[in-house]
């Protein structure tokens, strides 16, 4: 235990944040004590990331007071410094490593007063130690350049750096959707470490759309909705369903969410790749396995092989839903509408000009259908929360008539309610004869699939069908080979 009488690490009193007309946070009261693990849940755009940024001092609140270690901060602009001195560290929703630097150099960046002597060696051992502590058994080399690492490794590095040893010890670590690109096994390691960290007197704020993870680690759960904290209570007071209800999600006006029956009959084979990956018409094919084992590459290959660098077709064979938003999906300077319509420009126009009416119609339709949280589609895409940006990318692909949809871990950061809705949409589209290739790091998403290929070292290790598709089988397939590999 760090203190006996438990001074709160941070206290927010009546905090509000507005972005222009958008009120991202309202009347937020929150106190975090040492030893607590606070799970924060809420729909996309509920204000979770904004809350995080207020706590770590990066965003000055429009209203209200923030105090660190029980002491009121005098001026807003010093909050970042105070937060740092109070031992508050963050892992952001968008990865924030420098891709051109090595892992150990990235450790140097948040460590402001690092001793200069032999800093490389010291940094390497500190990162190594932290990586070993949080993710035992990983093989990340502190000297490797971040850009060369798969996204899962990058996320692990970022988490490890947040927990690493520095001059000021970590007392509160904020994790904003840390598991979104980790596979289950790695995520479990993280959860175990978090529990240990809290038991040793540290505090955690854990943001996730995975209810299972929340219930696993959180000692207290905060539910956010539309910028308000609607519930803040001991984890034992919540049930899974209760939590989902409490969050409420923003797709209320669509038909009820029905888990459509899994089909048994499929059309002819529409896709076969060299590595054996194949799909039939109307099928939802999952790509599973540990993160970074070539699934994304296979998907990209599938997309690139069937589309051209030189021409765009009025009826494309395949469309792509990106998971790594900023790298593969979002056009950062554009409005939501332009982002949404990119893929379908050719399809909806009979000339070489953009059909603005059709563009607006499609955008409005998907705005409603998938519940993009914005009041104006002309707003810049970057004003959307992470999950909502993801919804735009989803709409971009689904609006097209392409018979094959390739999805590269498309649900990163999408909230539970929307996920359900998207599952339903996928089912409905598959029913109409569309084929889906779906790579996911989430077991529940893979369980939605009709057939699953488990990847290992860029090869297919197992093909599972029907009842074979269980978490256990998938894990066995991915781990068997791991053992074999060692």
């Amino acid at each position: 235990m760090i203190g006996t009488q438990k001074v709160p690490i941070i206290t927010l009193a009546d905090v509000g944040v507005s972005f222009g007309a958008v009120k991202a946070l309202n009347d937020v009261e929150l106190t975090i004590l040492p030893g607590e693990c606070v799970g924060v849940v809420g729909h996309n755009g509920a204000g979770k990331s904004t809350l995080v940024n207020v706590i770590n001092g990066r965003l000055s609140s429009t209203r209200g007071d923030v105090s660190y270690d029980g002491e009121q901060s005098a001026a807003d602009f010093r909050n970042a410094l105070l937060a740092r001195n109070a031992g508050i560290r963050s892992v952001f929703q968008e990865l924030s490593l420098c891709p051109n630097l090595t892992v150990l150099e990235n450790y140097r960046i948040p460590y402001r007063n690092m001793p200069r002597r032999a800093w490389r060696r010291n940094a390497a051992s500190a990162v190594r130690a932290s990586l070993d502590a949080v993710f035992p058994g990983n093989a990340i080399d502190p000297y490797s350049v971040v850009d060369d690492l798969p996204i899962a490794d990058r996320q692990m590095v970022e988490i490890a750096i947040a927990f690493s040893r520095r001059d000021i010890d970590a007392r509160l670590v904020i994790l904003d959707e840390p598991t979104s690109s980790l596979d289950g096994a790695i995520a479990d390691q993280l959860l175990a470490y978090i529990k240990k960290f809290c038991a040793d007197g540290g505090a955690i704020i854990f943001i996730s759309h995975m209810m299972g993870e929340i219930f696993d680690v959180a000692s207290r759960i905060v539910v956010m909705k539309d910028g308000f904290i609607t519930q803040d209570n001991d984890a034992r007071h919540f049930t899974r369903d209760g939590l989902v209800d409490a969050m409420g999600h923003v797709v209320p006006d669509t038909a009820e969410v029905t888990g459509a029956k899994r089909r048994q009959e499929f059309g002819p084979e529409v896709l076969r790749m060299e590595n054996g990956l194949n799909a039939r018409q109307g099928e939802v094919v999952g790509l599973a396995g540990l993160a970074g084992h070539g699934q994304a590459e296979a998907l990209a290959q599938c997309f690139l092989d069937r589309t051209s660098d030189w021409s765009a077709s009025r009826d494309p064979a395949v469309v792509f839903v990106a998971g790594d938003r900023s790298r593969d999906g979002v056009m950062p300077l554009w409005s939501i509408m332009r982002n949404l319509s990119l893929q379908t420009l050719v399809e909806f126009s009979r000339t070489f000009l953009v059909d603005r009416k059709a563009e607006r119609k499609v955008a409005d339709e998907w705005h409603r259908k998938i519940g993009i949280k914005t009041d104006d589609l002309e707003n810049p895409i970057l004003s959307l929360s992470g999950g909502n940006q993801q919804k735009v990318l989803f709409s971009r692909a689904l609006a097209s008539s392409a018979p094959i949809v390739v999805m590269d871990d498309p649900m990163r950061g999408v909230d539970v309610g929307t996920k359900k809705e998207v599952y339903r949409m996928i089912r409905a589209e598959a029913e109409k004869g569309r084929t889906f290739l779906w790579y996911s790091t989430e077991t529940d998403e893979i369980l939605e699939c009709d057939r699953v290929f488990v990847f290992r070292d860029s090869e297919i290790a197992a093909e599972l069908q029907g009842d074979q598709i269980t978490e256990e089988n998938m894990l066995r397939a991915s781990f068997e080979m791991q053992e074999a590999g060692q």
């Binding site: 420098c98 051109n100 960046i109 350049v145």
Partner: protein, 308 residues
């Protein structure tokens, strides 16, 4: 690690091949005297290339390097010679202006290419004001330094090695270098950790300006005098040098050793051509062709991007 090494391998190889070709065609070049003649004018280019590298490192690009080096050369050949205190004060002031330019570029979110393009007119005007017609003369010590007869290796070889070593240490090994490259890689990450990106950019620009000043001085030391247009081509030469040395336009991926080698390669390429005795019609075109050939070899070395 290995990718970094690959990146540097190409510049080293192309320099080696060119050098071998030059030695083959002109065995006389294989001497203390010959090496000095081949490379002494590369020293200011190397310095200017390092300056450009500092700017590319923080994700910007500097189109005013040529005119700025010319300006520094004009100051060196005039004020530094006649009135050292005023001369150095002006050069120091110019470095501050550069640093301020970096800060403004960041603070107002300006495209560096535009600001530096505008500034290139500015420096060019200043240079014309200082030296309306070519002239001035090099301070004696500078002339002596640039033409010193050092033992074993000529200044022309020692200087690039020293510059490469110092900059490698500074950019690749020091903690400050990490931050500067970090600005190029992910500005936001640096900012989130509480560093002042503005300060870092200003610093990078300041260091770049310092190297430009050095480049201008070295140039005057070699040429013995200056004119307002003396180094105009350093702008493009320095960009080409950084790229040739394995650097990239964005993402903070630069290599000081590569940049130095790139600059040497470019200088040598021009010499190589003059040893070929081409028809005057095609001499200019051959410069382009050799640039293309050297850069095309990169194809073999750069990893095929996963996508596109």
């Amino acid at each position: 690690m290995s990718r970094d090494h690959l990146r540097i391998l190409l510049p080293v190889l192309s320099l080696a091949i060119l050098l071998a070709a030059v030695f083959y065609m002109q065995p006389r070049a294989m001497s203390y005297f010959g090496l000095n003649l081949l490379f002494n004018l590369a020293v200011p280019v190397v310095l200017a290339t390092i300056a450009q590298m500092m700017i590319l490192m923080v994700n910007d690009i500097d189109l005013s390097i040529g005119t700025f080096v010319s300006f520094c050369a004009c100051i060196t050949a005039t004020f530094v010679q006649t009135d050292p205190v005023v001369g150095y004060a002006i050069l120091f002031g110019a470095i501050l202006v550069y640093a301020a330019m970096g800060a403004i570029i960041y603070a107002r979110g300006l495209p560096a290419i535009v600001v530096t393009l505008g500034m290139s007119f500015f420096w060019s005007g200043m240079a014309v004001l200082v030296l309306p017609s070519p002239g001035g003369s090099a301070p004696d010590w500078l002339r002596a330094l640039m033409t010193a007869k050092t033992p074993f290796l000529p200044v022309a070889i020692i200087a690039p090695i020293v510059i490469a070593a110092i900059m490698h240490y500074f950019v690749k090994r020091s903690a400050l270098g990490v931050l500067l490259r970090g600005v190029g890689g992910n500005e936001q990450a640096i900012e989130r950790s509480g560093w002042s990106v503005m300060g870092l950019k200003a610093f990078a620009y300041g260091v770049a300006a310092l190297f430009c000043v050095l480049s201008g001085m070295a140039l005057v030391g070699l040429a013995t005098s200056a004119d307002a247009n003396i180094a105009l081509r350093y702008t493009l030469l320095s960009i080409a040098g950084v790229i040739l040395g394995g650097g990239e336009f964005t993402g903070g991926r630069v290599s000081p050793v590569g940049a130095v080698i790139g600059a040497l390669t470019l200088t040598l390429a021009a010499s190589f051509l003059s040893f070929l005795h081409l028809s005057p019609d095609w001499q200019i075109g051959a410069q382009g062709a050799i640039l293309i050939i050297v850069l095309a070899v990169r194809l073999v070395f750069t990893r095929r991007e996963a996508l596109i």
